[in-house]
Amino acid sequence: MRNPLQTPFAAIFQNEVRLNSRRVAPYFMALLCAGNALLWWGWGPAVGRGLAINSDFVIAGVLPIYSFLTLPLFTAVFMADPVSRDFRDGIDPLIFSKPISRGEYLLGKFFGNFFVLACCQSAFVLMWFALQAVHKQGVTTQQFKVIPYIKHFLVLVVISHFLLAAFYFAVGALTRNAKIVYGLGVAFYPIYITYQVALLSSLPRYWKLALDPGVMNRGNVHDRERTIEWMNQVVVVYEPDLIINRVVVILLAAIFLTIVYLRFRITERPVKVEAFSVLNLTEGAGGFYYDPPSTEPSLVERFEHHSHEKVLLPGVTRATAGIRAHLHQLFAALTVEFRLLRAERSFVAVMPLAIFLSIFEVAFYNIPPDVSYSAAYATNTAKLMLLFLLGIAVFYTGEAIHRDREVRMEPVLWATPAANNVLLLSKFLATLVLTCALIFVVGIVAVAIQVLRHHTPIDLHAYFRVYGLILLPSTIFVTAVVVLANIVLRNKHVAYVFSIGTAVGLFYLYSTGYNHWLYNPLLYQLWNYLDLTGAGSNHSIILIHRIYCLAASVACLALAHILFQRKSTRRVMMDGHLTDRGWSILLAVVSITTVVGTGWIISSMHAVALP
C-alpha cells in the first residue's frame, strides 16, 4: 500500500509549509495573533466584570470578532500566490514534467498554505490557553480547560477562513495575479459590512445566523441581558442553524476548489507570451551555432569584427570620498532599500491593518478629553500604534539586513566603493522612514476623524509632542537594536526569536510591576500627556530618558558598524585621518558614555521620585 506521506500531494503540502517557514508573514501574523490574545485577556470586555476569561461563553463570543478583525487580510496574503509563484519563479516546467495530477498539485498547494494559516491563527487560542495559568488583577479564571479552545477555534475561525481561503486561492490561481487577491482582501471589510447592514440586519435571528459566513451574529460578551453567573456556567451548544451555516460554508469552499480544478491550466498565459515577444534580444546572433574552439574567431578577429559597431562608454567623473559623495551614495541606497521594502508582499496587508487598528478606538469609541481632544487622540493612537511599530521595526529591518545575501546581491554590492555605513544606514533609515510614514498617516487620519466627529479645535502640537517625544525615539531605538541583533546573530530567524522573546519578557516584567525607566526604552505605561507639556511630574526625566534612548541607539549602530561582516580595514587611523572603523569606535565610546551618564541621572531622579 502506498505510504500517504510519500505521495505527490504530501510532497507539495510539505514544500509549501517549508516555504512559508522562511517568510516573514507567518511569524508576524502569529505574533500579532498572540499579542491580540494578550490584549483581549488582560484588557478585554471580560476584565473587571467577574466574567471568566476561559468560560465557554467568552471563548465562543470572542473568536468570531478576532476572526473578523485582522485575519481576512492575512488569509489573502497567504492564499494569493502559491500557484502564481511557481510560474513567476519559472519552476512550473519542473513540477509539471513530473507524474503529478492537477488535483494533487492544487490541493497540495491549497492545504499546505491553509495549514500554515490555521497554525498562525491558532496563536491566539494557544496564548489564551497558556494564560489560564497566569493570574492578573481583574481577570477571572475558571478551572483549567482544553476542549472549548479547540472546538470553538475549529468551528468559528478555521471553517470561516476555509471559505475565504478557497475563494482567494481560486482567484489567485486562475488570474495568476496576487494583486487582485490583495485588492479583494482589502475589499473584504466594506463588502462584508455592507452585506451585514443592507441584508442581514433586517432578517430574523436564525436567518442572520444561517447566512452569515463570519458567524458575527451570535451572542457576544457585551450582552447585558444575561447575568454574569449564567454566562460563566453556560455550555455553548451549536444550534442547527449554525451547523447548517458551517456545512454550507464548507460546501461553498469545495465549489471554489472545484472551479479551480476545472479551469486551471498549466500553460503560460497568452499575455505573458506577448510581453516577452516585444523584446528582440537575439539581434546579431542569428544563425550562430557552436563550433569547436579551433574554428572560433580569435580575439583579434573578434575585436576587429566588432570594432566598427562597438559602443564607446563615455567618460564620467567619480566621487567616492568626502561627505557630499557619501550622502549621495547613502541617498541612492536608501531610495532602493525603501523601494524594496514597499515591494514586500506583507506590506499590503500590514500597513492598512496597522492604520485601521491604531485609529480603531478614536474612530468608534468616545475618547474622554483630559486636556484636549487632540491630546487624547494623539495619546490613544500612539499607544495602539506601538505594537505595530515594534513589529515593523523587527521584521522589516531583519528582511532588509539579510535581503542582499538572500538574493545573492552581496558579492556585487560589497565589491563597490560604497562604505559600510552606507550599506548599513540605508537599511536602518529605510525601516525608520517606513515607520515614520505610518506615524504620519495615522496622525493625518486621526486629525480627519477629529474633524468628522466635531472634536475640534485641532491642536497639531499635541500630535507632534506625543509622536515626536514618545514614538519616534522609541522606534529609532528598537530599529537600531534590531540592526545590531541581526549583524551579531547573522540569522534573521534567530534575530526574530531574540527580539520577540526580549519584548515579551520585558512586557511581562512591566505588567507585573517591574517597570523601571532604565529598562523601559519605550516608556511603556510611564508617561501621560501632561508629562510631555511640562505640567506633569515626569517632564525632566522623560527628556533625559529620550537622550538616554537615542544615545543607546547610536551605540547600537556604531557597534553594528564595527562588527559588520564586510571588512574594509582593521586600522583605526590611516594617512593621519580616522578611518570609518575609527569613527565608529569613537562614536561607540561617546554614546556609551552618554548612556551611562544619563542612566545614572535617571536612576537618581527615579530614586528621588520614589518616596
Binding site: R302, T317, R318, P411, T579
Partner: protein, 294 residues
C-alpha cells in the same frame, strides 16, 4: 599591471585553497583556467576584496589591494560566479543604483553612461523591464554592464559563461573582447578551455590551489607542435593504446574508435596522422602530467 605574490588561503585550518600563488598580469584578458575546486573562485574573491587571505600581497598599478580595500574598490569591476539582482527593480533602476554607489554623481553623465552600457550589452529594449523576468543570459549581460561602470582598472569575471547557451556565450565573448581593448586588466576565471582560447591574450592553469603554468595560448599550443596525433582504430586496440600513450579524446564511430593522443617526438603507429594542436590538448597534457607526478 596586477601583481600577485605568495597568496595563501586556508579554510577551516586544513583545506588549503591557495598555495603561495604568484602571478603577473598585464592589461588585456587574462584567462585563469582550472577544474571545479581548483581555487579560482577563492582567488577571485580575494581580488574582489570579499575575502581576506592568510598571507601574500596583491597590487594593482602599484596600489595595495589587501590593506586598502576601501580604495581598491574604486578600481574594481566584479562579476561573481553566482549573483542575483533585486527582482522587483527594473534593469535601469539597478544600473542607476550601481552607478551611484560607484560615485557617478552627475545626473547627465550617469544617464549617458547607462544609455551606452545598455546599448553595448544589447539590453536597451529591456531597460524598463523588471529583473525577475530576465533570462540567465540577460542577467549575465547586465552583470557585465554593472562591472564596467566607472572605468575600472581591474575587471574580475568569475565563470561568466557557465550555464549559458551557445548564442548567449558568443554574445558574452564579444562583450569581453570589446572590454579587452580598453587598457583594463580583465581576469576571466573559467573551466571552459574554449573560453580562454577564443578570448585571452594570457593565461594560467590552476589546480589544487597551485599555478601549474602561466603562458599565452599561442605559446601553450606551440609546445605541442608535432606531438598530437589522430587515428581511427579497432575498438579492441583502445585499451592497449591508452596504456602506452596519453589519450586526449576518444569517440566511437560505427564500431571503431577515433583517438586523439599526445606522443612527443614519435608517431604512435602507422595509422596515426599528425593533428593541429589546440588549447584543450595543452590543458589535458598539463593536468595529466601533474597527476602522474603526484
Amino acid at each position: 599591471m596586477l601583481k600577485i605574490r605568495e597568496l595563501t588561503k586556508t579554510y577551516g585550518g586544513n583545506i588549503q585553497a591557495l598555495k603561495r600563488i604568484s602571478l603577473d598580469v598585464s592589461p588585456g584578458v587574462f584567462g585563469l583556467l582550472g577544474p571545479n575546486g581548483a581555487g579560482k573562485t577563492t582567488l577571485m574573491k580575494i581580488l574582489a576584496t570579499l575575502l581576506e587571505p592568510d598571507a601574500g600581497t596583491v597590487e594593482i598599478n602599484g596600489f595595495d589591494l589587501i590593506s586598502r580595500k576601501d580604495k581598491a574598490r574604486r578600481l574594481l569591476g566584479y562579476l561573481p560566479q553566482d549573483f542575483g539582482l533585486y527582482p522587483t527593480l527594473t534593469a535601469e533602476q539597478m544600473l542607476n543604483y550601481f552607478a551611484k554607489l560607484k560615485g557617478v554623481t552627475d545626473k547627465e553623465e550617469r544617464r549617458a553612461l547607462i544609455d551606452a552600457l545598455f546599448e553595448r550589452v544589447n539590453l536597451s529594449g529591456a531597460r524598463k523591464q523588471r529583473l525577475e523576468g530576465f533570462s540567465g543570459g540577460m542577467r549575465q549581460r547586465l552583470g557585465i554592464a554593472q562591472a564596467l561602470i566607472g572605468q575600472p582598472q581591474l575587471i574580475i569575471v568569475d565563470e561568466p559563461t557557465a550555464g549559458l547557451d551557445p548564442e548567449e556565450r558568443n554574445r558574452f565573448h564579444n562583450l569581453l573582447a570589446e572590454t579587452a581593448g580598453e587598457d583594463a586588466v580583465v581576469l576571466l576565471s573559467t573551466h571552459i578551455v574554449s573560453d580562454v582560447s577564443s578570448l585571452c591574450s594570457q593565461m594560467a592553469v590552476i589546480r589544487g590551489g597551485s599555478i601549474l603554468a602561466s603562458t599565452t595560448p599561442e605559446q601553450a599550443v606551440d609546445q605541442l607542435k608535432d606531438s598530437v596525433w589522430e587515428a581511427t582504430v579497432p575498438r579492441e586496440r583502445v585499451a592497449a593504446l591508452k596504456a602506452r600513450y596519453q589519450v586526449i579524446s576518444s569517440q566511437m564511430l560505427s564500431g571503431q574508435a577515433r583517438l586523439r593522443v599526445i606522443a612527443k617526438g614519435l608517431r604512435p603507429s602507422e595509422e596515426f596522422t599528425p593533428a593541429k594542436p589546440v588549447l584543450e590538448d595543452y590543458y589535458f597534457d598539463l593536468v595529466n602530467q601533474r597527476e602522474r607526478a603526484n
